[in-house]
Symmetry: C2
Subunit: 297 residues, 2 copies
């Protein structure tokens, strides 16, 4: 099976688009790496660059990006709406296809080790975290760049790689591995927001629902509907069809039907495997049967 | 959008596997072409080699295959169970992704023209046919290799490309374009074969069913079930979910449930688009959202 790893790098530059193009070009120049997407937000003063390929190539892509970013961004001049702590702020490696979480963690740790050698303090988060309190990005980034110098001086927050000395220009980088996230919204044929909120509570983990579901209820005023807006954080443990059918069943208690759903943004091919299996009842369908997979690296 | 064309070449050699490996290597050596699959059948004395890539590259792959095959296979020595007329017997070009049928026809005609120049009589079939009676492969191949010399002498069967003179060594080649075919079986929780046959008649085109469905009813004795076995010849015109739901509805008339289904062999990614849209009710889902498509050529 082909091996595809994805990297969704968050960079603290969202205004000087020529610089961002330069960062993207640096990644694109790495053999075997493909740019899937990139976008910038001026208010957030932040860009997200998504690239993918075989794990070792994606690691090289991340190094090339880091080199370009560290040469151009000075955190002493950075201010934007989005929380941030470093020039190369967050670098998650995401196993997409034929790559285990363990392998993604390995790549993240290797990248972090290398980045540390360049003089940048590095924290490992999510599946690559070295201790439970460092799993969560908001916890690591609390206080942001402005609090970083004091934080690094606290032994509790000694970096996982790189120097504990404050690097005023680069700040710190958070890197790690996480499962691909699926943004999945279900629109309901009612304007009763309470129904969407009740269903969100029924399906999300925090209130007793599915382990890999986070969710909220929203009003869609233009459409005269309400929406159960969800993030599926592990489509293997909690597949899309199971979530949709539970939402449908809970909505039916109020005589409310599903008007439609939205899969927002990129979706890994493997997340569709269970959709095909469940609804077509093709119990042994595998995404390797998809002809185009023969073209993957 | 990436452009992916597939070629499913049928070659009259299924016993000397070293030769077949050589044919596959000849295709593999063409830059930009990927081998999706190949298999040989000794009784049929025939191999199928499936490769894909950008249209122009697949054309080059087909030429490389033809050159290798024509150098090694002599039809005067060929006998097998499967109908055949030439060393390179049938070469369909199949639009998979971002390629129109018209473009696939162009490639097939270009390949046929080139092959004709190599001294092989060529017939165009399916979407590349030059007249209605040449759409069907069985009609073109009627009488097989043994009848070819007389056939070529008949002005009605003048080749579409290449010489009308009989090429005893190479025979003739049939090339053309056709839509990807999906082999889709639905297993039913009954042993009553008549139910499967009745449903096959309900859904297949010939008896008034869906335009792009061919089908038959079979007994699955080991499983104590029956099967509606179908070929979906155009998943755009007649999508998989519509066919399954019609089979399900017809079976329900007899109190019979769908036990499971089978998607046999390779499936184009785009054939799954309507599966996701229909069952997840994601009205605007597009396979371009599948992350891995960023890696396609």
């Amino acid at each position: 099976m082909s091996e595809v790893l994805m990297c969704e790098a968050n960079v603290s530059e969202g205004r000087r688009l020529d610089l961002v193009e330069g960062f993207v070009d640096a990644v694109r120049a790495v053999d075997g790496v493909s740019i899937a997407d990139y976008s910038s937000d001026a208010d957030h003063h932040r860009s997200v660059i998504t690239f993918l390929g075989p794990p070792e190539r994606v690691l090289e892509g991340a190094k090339a990006l880091a080199t370009a970013v560290l040469a151009k961004i000075d955190m002493r001049e950075h201010a934007g709406e989005h929380p941030r702590q470093g020039a190369l702020d967050v670098v998650p490696f995401i196993p997409l296809r034929g790559v285990s979480t363990e392998r993604a963690v390995e790549i993240a740790r290797e990248f972090g080790g290398w980045l540390g050698e360049q003089g940048v303090p590095v924290y490992f988060y999510e599946d690559a975290a070295t201790r439970p309190e460092r799993q969560s990005l908001p916890k690591i980034r609390k206080g942001e760049y402005e609090a970083l110098e004091a934080k690094l001086a606290d032994p509790e927050w000694a970096p996982d790689a790189g120097p504990a000395a404050f690097n005023a220009r680069a700040g710190a980088t958070v890197t790690g591995a996480r499962f691909p996230l699926i943004a999945f919204n279900v629109n309901l044929r009612t304007e009763d927001l309470e129904i969407a909120k009740t269903i969100a509570r029924a399906v999300r983990h925090i209130n007793g629902g599915y382990k890999a579901v986070r969710g909220m209820g929203f009003a869609l005023e233009d459409k005269k509907m309400v929406q159960v807006s969800m993030n599926l954080v592990n489509y293997t443990e909690t597949p899309i069809p199971r979530v949709l059918e539970t939402v449908r069943s809970e909505a039916a208690r109020y005589g409310v039907a599903v008007a439609g759903t939205e899969l927002i943004g990129p979706v890994p091919l493997d997340a569709l495997e269970e959709v095909v299996r469940h609804y077509l009842q093709t119990h042994d369908f595998e995404t390797e049967q998809v002809v185009e997979t023969a073209l993957l690296p």
